[in-house]
């Protein structure tokens, strides 16, 4: 809403020129002098860093050491779940537009501002209408701006996907080898079953059933573990960055994908392992 460089200056000034010790100041209504005292809002991070709370008075100036206004903190704001803001370390202060203009002596200068349309209005139609009527600036629908600013995240997303595919391929090979080894350990049992008259298909069916059960249980446990890990990650980083943003998510579609994939891999691995065993003669299997 405000030009960013300006905000940064303001925030710095506000942090440096805190005039009232917050611990002793009562959370009182701000209007205690003749002239109406202006109010500002600060973000949680600034409040935490400077030990400020609602009702505190601070000196607000355009630069450190410059003449400023005494203002009261009317509210403490929480940051939105916007990934592009997470890593930003600057503080945020909001003040009324006219107050900002007088304080910075920069009347009639606004870099950006947001227009909220009615629910039923089509954002692109609204921005087209504004662009037609106004001169000297451009309006964009919020969705377009979001796409523009999230380009980095899409690259990161693609990168994560690539890591995911590599992990899946590597673990699939690993799983296949493990299953082959595990089934091969049961060589004697399979040989004995064949000796007492179990058909090849019965043995294959039993092995595949067991392999798919193991992979089903495994993938459900894995999904549970993933859910817990993402909870820990979110808990930790939401604390670090003071944001409600979720850093890791386990969606139902991810769970379905994981379970389906591991079930498929389990069945294939079981099938291959069992086929390898039943091709051999039972006497050879029991190692006579």
């Amino acid at each position: 809403m405000f030009p960013l460089p300006l905000l940064r200056v303001l925030a710095l000034a506000a942090a440096l020129q805190q005039s009232t010790p917050s611990a002793t100041s009562p959370i009182a209504p701000p209007r205690d002098s003749g002239a109406a005292i202006r109010s500002i809002t600060i973000d949680e991070r600034l409040a935490a860093a400077a030990g400020l709370s609602v009702g505190d008075r601070v000196l607000l100036a355009p630069a450190a050491g410059a003449v400023g206004d005494s203002v009261v903190i009317a509210a403490i704001t929480r940051r939105g779940a916007d990934p592009s803001e997470v890593a930003r370390s600057e503080y945020r202060v909001r003040l009324h537009l006219d107050h900002l203009e007088t304080l910075t002596r920069s009347g009639d200068r606004v870099g950006r501002f947001a227009v909220q349309s009615r629910e039923e209005a089509d954002p692109s139609a609204v921005s087209a209408a504004i662009n037609e009527a106004a001169f000297g600036f451009r309006a964009y629908p919020a969705a377009e701006v979001a796409v523009e600013t999230s380009a980095t995240f899409r690259v990161v997303n693609r990168f994560h996907r690539a890591i995911g595919v590599i992990t899946i391929v590597a673990s699939a090979i690993f799983l296949l080898c493990i299953t082959l080894l595990k089934v091969d350990e049961r060589r004697r049992d399979v040989g004995a079953l064949r000796l007492i008259g179990m058909s090849r298909s019965s043995v294959v069916r039993a092995v595949v059933l067991e392999a798919s059960l193991v992979s089903l249980i495994g993938s459900i446990m894995g999904a549970g573990l993933g859910w817990f890990a993402s909870w820990v990650v979110n808990w930790y980083y939401q604390g670090v960055y003071a944001t409600p943003l979720r850093f890791a998510i386990v969606t139902p579609s991810i769970v379905v994908f994981a379970v389906t994939l591991s079930l498929g891999l389990g069945v294939i691995a079981g099938l291959l392992a069992a086929q390898r065993l039943v091709r051999r003669a039972p006497l050879e299997l029991i190692g006579r």
Partner: protein
């Protein structure tokens, strides 16, 4: 006249190995009547196990014919032989070969479930067989909870599950101590008296002495046969639990 359950004619088995092939069984002919108990004895490597595997449709002879209850075992393809092992033959091995994850009862039920016997029926028969071999109270125990002798009893119950025409046992007392071995021999004797036709292969002199007929093998051939107790010598009881 008793039914001939097993008729082997001039059976040979050569193992193709590099150089001279091994002639493990060289022209054996053997008839086993219903209710008989034959013990095959002989020095190690004389071909006893090879012969038993041929009789049990586990292996196929190089030449000769083997007929069990009129079925030509030697000419069966793999699927037919597998099916025949399931329903026509009962096997008891030296090392038991029970499924370690299944209970005694489930191990006995396994061949019946493969043969599509209804569940209630196979559970009842498994109980009955386990009781017959003296393990009625251990039906829900797993192999690791059972002694070697008990495991072998479960294996015998499993071998009888589908009411086979013939019970084949390769060194059934080989892994057991002398006393447990003697108990096992008593069980085989009871089985035979109750009508089960048995062929055992063994080094165990005591087991051989208990059989009705002892067949001596050497270098892949039968060299001597001794009938110790002719059939009908002791009237077998009604088929009882094995029927």
């Amino acid at each position: 006249m008793r039914e001939i359950v097993l008729a082997a004619r001039d059976v040979r088995r050569d193992y193709p190995v590099v150089g001279e092939p091994v002639h493990a069984v060289r022209g054996i002919s053997l008839d086993v009547a219903a209710g008989d108990w034959v013990a095959v004895v002989g020095p190690s490597g004389c071909g006893k196990s090879t012969l038993l595997n041929l009789l049990g449709a586990i292996d196929r002879p190089t030449a000769g014919s083997i007929s069990i209850r009129g079925k030509d075992v030697a000419r069966m393809n793999d699927a037919e032989a597998t099916r025949f092992r399931l329903t026509g033959i009962g096997f008891v091995f030296q090392r038991f070969y029970l499924m370690p994850t299944l209970t005694a009862s489930e191990n006995v039920e396994l061949p019946m479930s493969e043969a599509k016997v209804p569940r209630a029926q196979r559970v009842a028969r498994a109980r009955e067989l386990l009781t017959y071999v003296g393990l009625g109270a251990r039906a829900d125990h797993r192999p690791y909870q059972l002694s070697g002798g008990e495991q072998q009893r479960v294996a015998i119950a499993r071998a009888l599950a589908n009411q086979p025409a013939l019970l084949l046992a390769d060194e059934p007392t080989g892994e057991l101590d002398a006393r447990t071995g003697t108990e096992m021999i008593a069980l085989f004797d009871r089985l035979n008296r109750d009508g089960t036709t048995i062929v055992t292969v063994t080094h165990d002199e005591e087991l051989a002495q208990a059989a009705r007929r002892v067949v001596h093998m050497k270098d892949g051939a039968i060299v001597d046969q001794v009938v110790r107790r002719p059939l009908g010598d002791d009237a077998p009881a009604a088929r009882g639990a094995t029927a």
